[in-house]
């Protein structure tokens, strides 16, 4: 039942290879195959970058798969200024940063209560929370939409004066939807922390909050790092919630705003490619920098040692 930490990635590989004598031709074949797959996998993204660097009339004349006559960064400038991408990045930030923080706060406390305190019904709670995360969003979309239009908000919180079309509404649904997964992963992780620490604190008369905030949470740093990376990516990539629960075009997060680069009658795909690359960039950077945390987050929920 314990969740193994994501560390043993490399160590376990050594013993398998050493006793056998290496079969060279097969090795080469393996490399050729994997290299081809890897290249094939990178190709679409490389193509998007390539297309974004070429003027429209050139690709319209020669197709996307042709040698460049001109390379230009103009489309990036255009996507950046004309499509007002900075504003949409900011919108995303306003939604994602509180979204990740609140989700992790709420989920870690709930996980602590479930994994460490013998509260009644803890297993039922965990099952209900985890199941909620697995539902397809469309299952609850219709009533949620109706609910959002009916809940009033004061004007200082949302200029739409309702949960619908407000940042708060989007943050809330992200929190609610991602919460179950986080509780599950954090609770599993907390069970691997030796109980003695907690018991010693209990003997010393430490309060629930102190045991959560000062004793347990600091030990959960690896899992919190993994989950925040993953949650950032998921919330950033959201398309559906914003599409349904937002109506003002200027409040959309950046992923949904990409649609704005599509013209009414004519779409300049090179511009769209530049926009796509710009939109993909933050998650690609996060992935490159926090690659270990990202993979850990994805596998934490699924591997149980």
């Amino acid at each position: 039942m314990t969740l193994t930490a994501p560390v043993p990635a490399r160590t376990s590989q050594q013993p398998a290879a050493s006793p056998r004598r290496p079969v060279r031709p097969l090795r080469v074949l393996l490399h050729v195959f994997l290299a081809m797959v890897a290249l094939g996998w990178l190709m679409p993204l490389a193509l998007a970058v390539y297309a974004s660097l070429r003027p429209y009339d050139e690709t319209a004349r020669l197709g996307y798969l042709s040698l460049p006559e001109h390379l230009t960064l103009d489309y990036y400038g255009e996507a950046w200024s004309q499509a007002e991408l900075p504003r949409y990045y900011l919108n995303t930030l306003v939604i994602v940063v509180p979204g990740v923080l609140i989700t992790l706060m709420l989920a870690s406390f709930t996980a602590f209560a479930i994994a460490r305190l013998r509260i009644p019904g803890r297993k039922t709670l965990l099952i209900v929370f985890t199941a909620g995360n697995l539902l397809p969003p469309q299952v609850l979309l219709t009533p949620l939409y109706t609910l959002y239009t009916m809940v009033p908000l004061p004007a200082w919180l949302s200029d739409s004066q309702a949960l619908y079309d407000s940042y708060l509404g989007l943050i809330l649904i992200h929190v609610a939807f991602q919460f179950g997964f986080c509780v599950f992963v954090i609770a599993n992780f907390m069970r691997t922390i030796p109980e003695e620490i907690n018991e010693a604190a209990l003997v010393d008369g430490a309060s629930v909050w102190r045991r959560y905030w000062q004793l347990t949470l600091p030990l959960c740093r690896p899992v919190l790092a993994a989950l925040s990376t993953l949650q950032f990516t998921w919330m950033y990539n959201d398309f559906l919630w914003a599409l349904v629960l937002m109506s003002s075009g200027d409040k959309l997060p950046v992923t949904s705003a990409l649609n704005n680069l599509r013209g009414q009658f004519f779409t300049d795909y090179n511009l769209l490619a530049a926009g796509s690359v710009l939109v993909a960039l933050p998650t690609l950077i996060v992935f490159q920098l926090l690659h270990k945390q990202f993979v850990a987050g994805l596998t934490l929920g699924s591997t149980k040692g």
Partner: protein, 290 residues
Amino acid sequence: MAVKTRRYSARDVTILVIGLGVAIVVNVGLIWGPTLASVGLSGTDWNGIGPIEWIGGQNYADLADEYPPFWSAVRNNLLWLGFLGLIATPFGLFCAVLLDRRLRLSRVYQSALYMPVVLSLAVVGFIAQLVYSSDYGVLNAVSGLTVDWLGDRSINIWVVMVAAGWRHVGYVMIIYLAGLKAVDPALKEAAAIDGASESQTFFRVVFPTLRPINVIVLVITVIEALRAFDIVYAINRGRNGLELLSVLVTENIVGEASRIGFGSAIAVILLAISLGFIVTYLSQLFREER
């Protein structure tokens, strides 16, 4: 252990009630409440404003008989599931098995394979247009064909599934790779000493130990197939051959006609399918616990 129950001070109880209370209210209010409401609304003809009238199973009958997109959506969702489950998932497993050995450049291959996982499906949809565009897309340029890959309703679902599979393979590979690394190497050594070939070792020894991972991957695959939405919506709003159940639900609220009751009926069908798999998954997850 039982001693603990009485150790909570009044302040402890307050904090617990507030913390768990918020969690439960958010979860029930925004997830399970609306889900149940979908079930209730699916028996009504509500349009979002007027009075709510109970019409029983009428919406379901209309769905089956008078709403052609429904059956093409069902067909497409099944195709999607079949494609991810029978092609993308096994390919992800295959790559994981190949990468689960000491290989130079293994990290590079892995990164390339799972890079699409961090991309938003909407972005994947836009990139797909560059590849498949009929006039100057790469696929036609390379193959010399002049097929309208995304516009022809008999083939567009297939090429879109390939784009979705592009992302799914990496996801599955990461999960299997983690599972394979957790397999005790002694098992493989023992099999090798007994003279088992590499494929025998895999199918008879390693694969059976991956059972929990298999269930998880199966559920992820099903859920992904049911959730599929962004990519077709980014391409053509899920019309003209790209209908999916998720799109139909969305269309019935954001679209011109707000048919809450009707949309809910489609949502309930999605719910019924997914619940079966969710229950399987959870019973697998929670089996070892008391």
